[in-house]
Amino acid sequence: MCQLNCRVGAVALTVMIWVLVLGPRAAVGQAFWEDAEKLPMAPTWLVEKAKLPPYSPPMTPEGVPDLQGVWGGPGGDGLSYLEDHDFVDVTTPAQETFVSDPPDGKVPYTPWALARRNEILAGLGRGWAGESPERLYSSPAAYCLSFMPRFAFSELEIVQQSGFVIMLGEEGYRVIPTDGRSPISEDVKFWYGNSRGRWEGDSLVVEVSSLNGLGWLDSTGIYFTENTRMTERWRLVDPDTIDYEITIEDDTVYTSPWKMNFARRRPGTGPDTRRTRMPSAVALDAPSLDDPYAEEIWEDACYEGNREGPAALRAFGYDWFRGVTPPE
């Protein structure tokens, strides 16, 4: 009997230690979480932000705010599940909503759009309560198609040049003209849309249009459409923190424009002061609590080795998300 009991006990202990140590911070990749206090997100950040004194950001020689440097993502469980939720399972901890407006923290889908969203949620096959036996769509991120808004949920490095803001991420880069040029035609669609930036006061404002509507905003199927427009606002609120805000508009599926907010911080600042972005790792005899490369963005090239996952998902019957066509 000890054979099984000991094994179960060891596994339970292992998981417990993982979650106790990793929570409330997610490990890169699939972390394991305990059923613990809800991870902070937009509501907590808005309270924190409201207490901050006024701040005037440093300027580049061209006289625009200097946002350059490496910035972390939102922390918590990131893009797992955007709306407020309690503990789902060890891969999906309780977390506050990313949605700062409307105040209820929910994406304001129209009734038709909400029904579609719930249908997608029920077909994810993640073992959650209330799922349908049918497997519908796997997350586009499983195919290395990052969630929108691009890079919002991961580290990036901002580089500014005359007339451009460049964002370097691990899975790609983003060039945002700020020279006043007009957007491309809405007849041309892209996974990550077409970005045009401008400076308004201390904020970098980026308008995103020409989205193809095939991506998701999180791993639970919160979707947008090819009619969706996004407006991001990047503003330094202290030397090491950017308030990231995005407004999402699409009256074909949302009852009103809605917003998300979270803080992006420089490595080694904020609630965690260690200069590392990764679980430190590790051989027992060579612990390394700091990532010496924390301020470097490394190309990930997700597609390079992304073989078994997509193949397995196809074998299970998952399909590509084909977008939605709102009723007339």
Partner: protein, 139 residues
């Protein structure tokens, strides 16, 4: 059944407990990058698995690294298991190198079994018989 060869007693519980505490005591931080969250669709959290075998190869690639190990079955046959690990960037940032995983190295892997029924697992931790431990951290 398929898993029986690996459903074996974990010996030296006290020793292992100390090891685990040591390992995970070192896992302190992280700002997450994009987790793909296909984990729950591909692997079964309710089927933890322990495998012991010899490394045949390792792939340091993104978004997942892979360890391949030959595991001897009860009937004497050998199955080559694929163990999904963290991506090359993640492993490198943690200080791991391909040279840490030479072919022939005997390892014990803890992870979760793939839903496909194939000899594939999502690795959580790998231990070497000489006492080194690594967190594989995959997504």
């Amino acid at each position: 059944m398929f898993l029986q060869p690996w459903l074996r007693e974990i010996r030296n519980m006290k020793k292992q407990t100390l090891e685990l505490l040591g390992i995970f005591g070192l896992l302190l931080v992280a700002v997450p990058v994009a987790a793909h969250h296909s984990f729950a669709a591909e692997f079964d959290i309710n089927q933890p698995i322990e495998l012991r075998g010899k490394l045949t190869s390792v792939e340091f690639v993104n978004p997942h690294g892979w360890l391949y190990i030959d595991v001897e079955n009860e009937d004497g046959t050998v199955t080559n298991w694929a163990i999904e690990a963290g991506g090359a960037n993640q492993l490198l940032r943690r200080g791991l190198r391909e040279t840490d995983f030479p072919p022939g190295l005997e390892v014990i892997v803890n992870g979760f079994l793939a839903r496909s029924g194939e000899p594939v697992a999502n690795g959580r931790e790998v231990r070497t018989v000489d006492g080194r431990n690594f967190f594989l951290g995959t997504e």
